[in-house]
Point group: none
Chain length 234, copies 2
Amino acid sequence: MTPPVIILVRPQLGENIGLAARAMANFGLSELRLSCPRDLWPNPSAILASASASQVINKAQVYYDTDASMADLHYVFAATVRPRRMEKSVFIPSEAVGQTLPERWGILFGPENAGLSNEEISKANALIHIPTSPLFGSLNLSHAVAICCYEWGRLLSLPPHSCKNRSSEEASKLDVSLLLDHLEQALEESGFFLPAHKKEKMVWNLRSVFQRARLTQQEVRTLRGAVRALKGTS
Amino acid sequence: MTPPVIILVRPQLGENIGLAARAMANFGLSELRLSCPRDLWPNPSAILASASASQVINKAQVYYDTDASMADLHYVFAATVRPRRMEKSVFIPSEAVGQTLPERWGILFGPENAGLSNEEISKANALIHIPTSPLFGSLNLSHAVAICCYEWGRLLSLPPHSCKNRSSEEASKLDVSLLLDHLEQALEESGFFLPAHKKEKMVWNLRSVFQRARLTQQEVRTLRGAVRALKGTS
C-alpha cells in the first residue's frame, strides 16, 4: 500500500499549501503537486506555514496543466463538497482509502473559492466527499487535505487487506486520456457531437464510463484498436 | 448525544482560533471556549479565518483560568501529541467520541508551541491521542481540532455507506448485452477480430470493460450512437 499523491489544483493561499504539506508529513504522505498555483513558487508563506515539513514542501512539483499533474497516476479521486451530477462513485474518506487501489494513485483538491471544475472532475475515477453539516459546508482546503491524510494514517494501523489480482497492469491516467482523446476525435470526425452545444456534456458522459471501468493497459490497447477499426483506419 | 465543547488553552494565533471555529461549524459543533488567549479578544484575524462561521466565533467564551473553562463539564478529554506518563486512558479520536459520555463534555487542546501542561492534563478524565508519523508528529492546532470534530460528525452519520450519485437508471443486462452485440458486429464488419482464433479472447476483454463500468441506460444509448457514428451509419 502506497500513500496517495496530493494534487492541489489552482491553490490560492500559500498558508493552505504549507498547512497541507504539514498534514501530509503528519500522516506519512510525501508527494505534493501543485497545478497552476496562483502565486509564484516557491512561496515563502507556504514554506512558513509548513512548519518545517521540509521533505514535503521542498519537493513539491509545480505543473501548469492538471492533466499533466496526474498523467502518471493510475487512479485519481476528486475531492468535492457539493454533490455533482456525474456518473461516478462517491466515497467518504475512510471508504476511499480502503479501496483496492493501484500503487500510483492520488487525490485532487480544488481551489479555495470554487472547488474543481466539472471538467476536472470528469477526469477522475471517483469522488471523495467529506460529509459536513448542511448548515456550514465550506471546509478549509488544508482541513480537507488533513482529514484525507488522517484517514490514510488511520488505515495503516489496521490489519492489511487482501488485494485483487488483475492479469494486466492498470492503465495510467495518461494512457486513458490519450484513448479518450482518440475516441473524441474519431467521433468528432464522424459528426457524433450534434447538436454542438451538447458536446461538452456528451464528452463528460463518455469519459465517466471509461474512468469508472478502471481499464488495464491491455484494455486500452484493445479499445484503441477498436476505434481505429470502426473508423476504417486500421 | 451532544457534541463536545472545544476548549483552546492559551492559543497563540488568531488564525488557528478562527480555523478551529470553522471546523467546528463544518461538523455541527457550536461551543468554543478560549482559556487565556495570547491576544486580545475579539481578535480580527480569528474572525477573518473563521470564514463566516459566525455562530461559533461570535459566541466564543473567554476564560482567564482553565479550571473555570471546564467547571460545568462532566467529562473532559485532553488532546495530546506526545505520550505522557500518566495513569489515564488514552483513546484515538474515533474511540473517544464513541464512548458513553455525559451530556456536557469537552476536549481541551493546548497551545501551538508546547501543548497542555502536565497539571492541565492531570485534570482531564482521559486523553485523546491522534496517531501521527513518528517522523513528524507536530500537528497544527486547527488540524487537531478539525480531526476530532470530523470524527464527531462521522459518528453521527454511522454506519458509513457509499452512495452512487447516478442521475440515470442503471441499464439492464439485456440493454448491455444488445450494446455489446452491436459493437461486436460492427467490429466484425470492420475486420477487427484478426487473427480469428483470438476473437473469443478479444470479445471477452471488451465485454468485461463494459460490464465493469455498470452502465446507465443513458450511457448505453450514447455508446450505441457512438458505434453507429464511427461506422458511418448514423
